[in-house]
Amino acid sequence: MKKVKCLLCPRECELRDGDRGDCRARMNIGGKLQTLVYGKPCAVHIDPIEKKPFFHYLPGTGSFSIATAGCNLHCMYCQNWAISQREPENTRNIDLSPQQVVEQAMAANCRTIAYTYSDPVIFFEYAADIGALAHENKLLNAWVTAGYINPEPLKEAITFVDAANIDLKGITEEFYRTVSKATLKPVLDTIVTMKKAGVWVEITNLIVPTYNDTEEDFSRLCDWIVDNVGAEVPLHFSKFWPMYQLKNLPPTPETVLTRAREIAMAKGIHYVYVGNIPGHEGNNTYCPVCKKNIISRSGYQILGYNIKAGKCGFCGHPIPGRWE
């Protein structure tokens, strides 16, 4: 039967000849597991790095952003479902070798290559080859990921990933099982492993009304962050927009996002942001010591910047991140 077991992510799909993984991007062809998306991105854009979101990593720079079809999670609210929940045959792909990705990123004056929109885990081989070439050319690699990956490939990813925004979608196994058809534990392990390995980590939590929007949810999530990766890890609360299978829900009210931010700050997290609401106070970076606004933003746009040599321009307190 030439059956194989994919060991890339915790799903560990067992595939008979001709079967495709749950991610739709990997297939057993004659007893060999093959990737169907290598060199075939379906999305290529130059975005501000703030869009990922990274707020403490080379602010104000462009990020050459790529994605392929497929995903190993199936979130009911996926904002990019048109590519993440499709087979690569059903997206419009272009041919772009790792060498071409790096060349185009350099030509566009980008400092980073972002692996985003879907999830770099499912185009691991492509991301790994681009990542190595990027380093040779002094570009940095930024993953935007759900962190649903097995320890062995994660160990390899850490050798070429410089920054990761990890989507911590909820803080209960039930949320992951119901909404994302996945499990929580491997995601938490990925966050801890990446942080320990020195990868720059920021965490995003999309607040979905009625699913993960209680004060208890926010408290548990923040407690876990403080206890396991520390209060210096930036945390982004994002506004949900009705999409895909959750069109019946309303967008996250601003008051809920503001409350989540208040709770996170009360728990001691230093850098807490509110996303998808331009002009909100939570778009800005405040110094945790002197409390002054050191990076003023509206959405992805930087309006004011007062960090000097990695320190608060007002009081000199070191601000974690990569600033130059």
């Binding site: 039967m1 030439k2 059956k3 194989v4 077991k5 994919c6 060991l7 890339l8 067992e14 990997r26 062809i29 007893g31 060999k32 597991l33 093959q34 990737t35 169907l36 998306v37 290598y38 060199g39 075939k40 690569p88 045959e89 997206t91 419009r92 792909n93 691991f124 081989e125 097995n150 062995e152 490939p153």
Partner: protein, 50 residues
């Protein structure tokens, strides 16, 4: 030339060509579709017995 009357036969002929084209184009696309997926060896898997 705009005053020329179209005969019933001409009208039917042109309509038929139009309908056939409408039906044939998606079918042709299906036969000549370019495979836009890659085939490259993946890593992180193991072969299972049986």
């Amino acid at each position: 030339m705009f005053n020329k009357k179209i005969t019933r036969a001409e009208f039917l002929k042109v309509s038929l060509i139009g309908i056939l084209s409408f039906l044939a184009l998606p079918a042709l696309r299906r036969f000549f579709r370019k495979d836009n997926t890659a085939r490259k060896d993946a890593r992180y898997y193991k072969n299972l017995a049986g």
